[in-house]
Subunit: 327 residues, 2 copies
Amino acid sequence: MTTAARRPATLDDVARAAGVSRSTASRVLAGNGFASPTARERVRTAVNLLGYVPNPAARALVHGSGVRLLIAVAGTGPAVLDDPYVDQAVAAVARACAPHGLGVAVQWVPLGEPERLTRLTDDRGVAGLVLLNTTPALLDLVPRRLAGRAVSIGIGSATVPSVDIDNGGGTTAIVRHLYDTGRRRIAMVTGPRWLACANRSVRAYRALVHEAGLPAREVVGDFSATRGYAAAREVLRRWPDTDAIVGISDATALGVIGRLRADGVRVPDDVAVTGFDDIPLAVTVALTTASHPVRQIITAAATMVLEQRTAPETTVFPSTLVVRGSA
Amino acid sequence: MTTAARRPATLDDVARAAGVSRSTASRVLAGNGFASPTARERVRTAVNLLGYVPNPAARALVHGSGVRLLIAVAGTGPAVLDDPYVDQAVAAVARACAPHGLGVAVQWVPLGEPERLTRLTDDRGVAGLVLLNTTPALLDLVPRRLAGRAVSIGIGSATVPSVDIDNGGGTTAIVRHLYDTGRRRIAMVTGPRWLACANRSVRAYRALVHEAGLPAREVVGDFSATRGYAAAREVLRRWPDTDAIVGISDATALGVIGRLRADGVRVPDDVAVTGFDDIPLAVTVALTTASHPVRQIITAAATMVLEQRTAPETTVFPSTLVVRGSA
DNA sequence: CTGAAAGCGCTAACAC
DNA sequence: GTGTTAGCGCTTTCAG
């Protein structure tokens, strides 16, 4: 480590050290363009010696490409950003971005004013866009500039490809499992109504209970454990003979279980409870749920925009039923 | 919204629309420098009209300041990044960065090769550094260039200020509560040994049990629920008469409870269990824990580096005992 | 108080 | 193959 406390090297330093011109050095680093093996070699050496790392700001400036991915999360209030699911998404995207020299920012977009998205994307620092909990209105507002550099997690559109979970299939498997194990009064704690992907779960639930001639019992939730905690009581108050509760998310289910146990209701003996996603904590409470590789899904989405891979309109990840103790 | 699908406005556009020179426009936006009220006004109008947002890459280039904050997480393997605590940290920092036009990246730094940090910070795209789970060796490697733009969450050093939780105090309160409620065989599922801030909790635990003439019973954990799940069984195998288990984190405690319940051990009747942090899920399982505004703490750290506030060497956030059902 | 001019570090034509 | 040149959008002396 003879490298003194110098300022980080620039391309000029590298070129000088290698005895070539800046352009040649640039070409070698870009990989494309021509360069003699000798030049290539000498530049490589200089780079290592100097510990050269390209300045992403300069690169972004000349390419007009931006320096960070924006994760735009739609919702009724800034509190949507408090969701651990969002945390996970941000972290996963940040991880995918790091090797590309890009950063991540998250911002909330109010459901009522989708135009706010435009203000966010007008920032040329934005190199790409990841939409979370999106609505069709929002999808339509993605600017041309970001064509091919935007992706939605959930529903997509003709111009914005999406990466999604088979919510319907997952929920169907869960409800069917409940039915097959003898449950006949199956309630559901849903997600917010405006959220398209959550609604697919709700619709699957409705279709199934309807088909089986069972009553549909729905309480609106918001994915959170806290809401699940409250919703459980509401379910049992409205329909005391309920024998199963389907949670729209694992957190919801964990909240439901917490409340039931606190109220002396046995799980799964009296009431079966299911979740959705299979978060790490699920195993510790033996939660029956549907498993999805959320991290991978988000990484896939981030990679799509980072590598500009022309993606199919929709990539659907499967949902796998995981039967544990709670149902 | 007459704004056509144009390319985002540049400072030149603003200057032209305002009928002033680029420099004047720049001065007005910077806030400092001279500018007549008239000029100021006209530039403001133009900015709003055009929806102008400065290009952060250009700005970073001229200032040599970087375009993203780096969150460096020390650990034995890349799996440290899978921790929900890290997720939360990344998301909180990303949130704080967004209004500043900065992004966030996360990278893992192997415990054995702290020099890897240097390679990361040599990237001029790095505007600031947030250290997580850091070690003294790592702290010493923070380059001069980042002086005043680095902060550690946990232990700090003379050159790197830190934002920290009063782990010792929190743990003391927890163990004392356990003792006061009659527990005399108190075990602890610790964090990894190399982690200084977790060790403060362990030391507090040891001091207290020692002082009370109780045996110290420690099983090494890693903050995860999964590890807590396994550790619970180990504790009861080694010391069957244990009547309380202190978890180094809420996730650990949740894992412990899961395992105990699965094994027919009653919580808190047979064994009391406590956590640390007070994550949202804690309330749903009635976990007794110590509460810390983690999000706020991380936001405070991020703000320190974003606003270059000359910070005291260490800012300690208090820990508050929250007694719920589990102990 | 304001404008002209010189770069920040890098890339991409375009000559040599 | 390689060097020269002209910017990307912005800030900041330095003259007016």
